[in-house]
């Protein structure tokens, strides 16, 4: 009796043991650095060199910088930066969905022999530095002959984007909100498509066949079966794509540089590397993380609910 109980317990211990490296990884590379950011955000500054001096003891924490930042987010200039960042990310996500879902669906459902080739094509951009890809767009959007700029201007895009509030109507694309949004979409869409493809690929085709056998048309089967079953994949793709977008500052720096398109990442970069107020930058990191935690919580609740419904 005792032996059989021990035999049952051993595999559990093994599985628990296997989580140790991951747990250590999480502690060393996430929790400790995160606490370090908090220690800087609520810490002080070296009186001579001006550099940030982290305070590790929470009892010694000062909340002066935090109060200033929160006040600016509620009443000051940072409010606009946060609203702008969230709107850019949500618009970019929507565009990623519109562009990426058909691609992922085609890959999962219809690409047969070409699937591997198309997947390689999707991964191909990762072989090139994100910075280089953005710099390429600087040339493409150059008002003095960039072909992307010429094409957009030729089809009357400036007027359209002004109409929907994402442009100033001018034919110089640098410094316009739509340029930053399209840059984000271009830069991050592979992150959206790949997990979505994996999710769609896992959907058992017999579900769709069953729906068709029961009289559903192709569109109805997609709307009633495929789309609901791919919701967890959409959410996962959205989270994977949105998280780096929220902290992105390269895209705006390279494609815009205008205060009118400033994102939270740019303000963090400003405070940490170009001002004597690294505490404010660290507070902004914490605030952004807190907001993203809310989104993550929503994601976890939604996926759990979807899994329950599926089972």
């Amino acid at each position: 009796m005792r032996r059989s109980e021990r035999n049952r317990a051993d595999p559990q211990a093994l599985w628990a043991g296997l989580t140790v490296p991951g747990t250590l990884w999480l502690v060393v590379l996430f929790i400790v650095p995160f606490y370090a950011i908090a220690a800087i955000a609520f810490g002080g500054a070296d009186p001579v060199f001006g550099s940030a001096v982290p305070k590790w003891n929470p009892l010694q924490w000062s909340f002066t910088a935090a109060n200033e930042v929160v006040s600016e987010i509620i009443h000051g200039a940072l409010r606009g930066v946060f609203l702008r960042t969230f709107s850019y990310v949500f618009i970019s996500l929507a565009l990623c969905f519109v562009i990426g879902y058909p691609v992922a669906y085609y890959l999962a459902r219809h690409a047969k022999r070409s699937r591997t080739f198309l997947l390689v094509c999707l991964v191909l951009p990762f072989w090139m530095s994100y910075l280089m890809r953005m710099l390429a767009w600087v040339n493409l959007l150059n008002p003095s002959g960039g072909w992307a700029a010429r094409a957009l201007n030729a089809v009357g895009a400036p007027g359209f984007f002004k109409l929907i509030g994402l442009g100033n109507g001018g034919e110089v694309w640098f410094g316009q909100p739509i340029t930053v949004v399209l840059g984000l979409v271009y830069g991050y869409i592979p992150f959206f498509i790949l997990p979505l493809y994996a999710s769609l690929d896992r959907i058992d085709p017999r579900f769709v066949e069953a729906a068709r056998d029961l009289g559903a048309g192709a569109r109805q089967a997609f709307r009633r079966v495929t789309l609901p079953l791919s919701v967890p994949g959409i959410l996962a793709a959205s989270v994977i794509t949105a998280l780096p977008m929220f902290g992105d500052y390269y895209t705006n720096t390279i494609l815009s540089g205008s205060p009118r398109t400033e994102m939270v990442g740019n303000q963090i970069e400003l405070f940490i590397t170009r001002s004597q107020q690294p505490q404010k930058g660290a507070v902004l990191v914490l605030v952004l993380s807190a907001l993203l935690l809310v989104l993550m919580w929503y994601y976890l609740v939604s996926t759990t609910r979807a899994q329950r419904q599926a089972s």
Partner: protein
């Protein structure tokens, strides 16, 4: 080319690092060697009208009469901020190797100087913004003039600079002004006739094609110049606020973009009028598209404008201080200074070669002679100096609000 970007990043980053703690916001409480422990010394913040003789910091200069050390000279510099050919000539002349490692911000330089594990023999590109910290922290050593026989070639107006009277710790490297870079084929030279041409940056006629230097001090100072104010190190919140509003107005009128790429944007035509450093235009010819002539590049500066220079310092723990002096001196030799300029693009802070010499050598197009800095520019220029922590915060917060849109 990266050379220009490195230079720009240097100035951009350094401007944000200047705060100094001190009594009444104007003095630095000095510290013990390499750390932040307190000491009795204090260093006033240097201003043009308040020159500062930097005190002894407990680090002895290298003794006289020594031969240059052998081996590898470890230099800390901005990327591509010294000509490889000039370095090779120095190596051949002294039978040594020069190993260059890079830093990209003034913060990083300060951290590297404080890092006792890093071996550094010479720093190129330091600025006044952290100089009091470097001295008070015992991070740099006094220089020995005996090893600098070409010191007389240092630009006369910088031989005893206000931030280091007597050049006790520093030797100038490059010098530059702040002005407006523009496309002469699009904006006529006649528009830059007066001293008030800063106002052109507010002109909505150039909407979409206006650029500002992404630097807290430069941008807010521009607002002050527009208003006719010239205290470039002011701690008056009202003045800073007025400048902030002027820049907000500029952004609204022109959709100006903030970056440090005027040297690329003006030649490429993505910007037609840009606040810029003179060194930007001196190196911009290399970025002209094929078929575009250098004559399209223009640079304007008023009679009195912001002038800056950077300098060499030798770390306190340099293992090859004599060899470090030798490289500083080598760069002061006119032929070497000229060769170095041809690659770096920023004007050497020397008497020879001077502006006319560089034009005669075909290194500067004649219409860009305004980019060259003279002794008169240095003497009559405004300086962006280190600020007290409280004042720096005023500037920093204002700039954050501007860039937040």
């Amino acid at each position: 080319m990266a050379k220009g970007m490195s230079r720009r990043e240097f100035v951009q980053r350094s401007a944000g690092v200047a705060a100094l703690a001190g009594i009444g916001g104007s003095f630095l409480a000095a510290c013990g060697s390499g750390g932040s422990s307190s000491s009795t010394a204090s260093i006033p913040l240097a201003r043009l009208d308040q020159p500062v003789t930097l005190p002894d910091n407990g680090v002895d200069p290298v003794k006289s009469g020594l031969k240059p050390e052998t081996g590898t000279l470890k230099v800390l510099n901005y990327a591509d901020y010294i000509s490889p050919d000039t370095v090779k000539k120095f190596e051949a002349a002294h039978g040594v190797k020069v190993e260059i490692s890079t830093y990209d911000t003034e913060d990083k330089l300060l951290a590297d100087l404080r890092n006792k594990k890093l071996k550094i023999d010479l720093v190129i590109g330091a600025t006044t913004l952290n100089l009091p910290k470097d001295v008070a922290g015992g991070l740099i050593q006094p220089l020995n003039r005996e090893y600098l026989p070409n010191f007389s070639n240092v630009l006369t107006s910088l031989q005893s600079p206000y931030y280091d009277v007597g050049s006790k710790y520093t030797i100038p490297y490059t010098v530059y002004t702040t002005g407006i870079a523009y496309r002469r084929d699009i904006i006529d030279d006649s528009k830059f006739a007066g001293d008030d041409s800063w106002k052109l940056l507010w002109d909505p006629a150039y909407k979409g094609y206006v650029g500002l230097i992404d630097d807290m001090r430069e941008v807010l100072t521009l607002g002050m110049y527009y208003l006719g104010l010239h205290d470039t190190n002011t701690g008056d919140p009202a003045v800073i606020s007025k400048a902030e509003k002027q820049i907000d107005a500029l952004v609204k009128a022109t959709d100006a973009r903030f970056d440090i790429n005027a040297y690329q944007k003006i030649p490429e035509g993505t910007s037609h009028i840009n606040q810029a450093w003179s060194g930007d235009m001196l190196s911009a010819t290399g970025y002209l598209p094929e078929g575009t002539k250098p004559e399209v590049l223009g640079y304007w500066k008023p009679t009195h404008t912001t002038v800056a220079n950077d300098f060499h310092v030798i770390p306190a723990r340099s293992e090859r201080p004599v060899l470090a002096h030798a490289l500083i001196d080598f760069l002061l030799v006119p032929a070497n200074a000229q060769e170095n300029f041809a690659t770096v693009g920023y004007q050497p802070a020397v008497n020879k070669p001077n502006g006319p010499d560089l034009i005669a050598a075909d290194l500067v197009p004649p219409q860009l002679s305004t980019s060259l800095v003279t002794n008169a520019d240095v003497s009559g220029g405004y300086r962006l100096d280190a600020l007290s922590r409280d004042v720096e915060k005023l500037w920093s917060d204002a700039y954050s609000r501007i860039t937040a849109g």
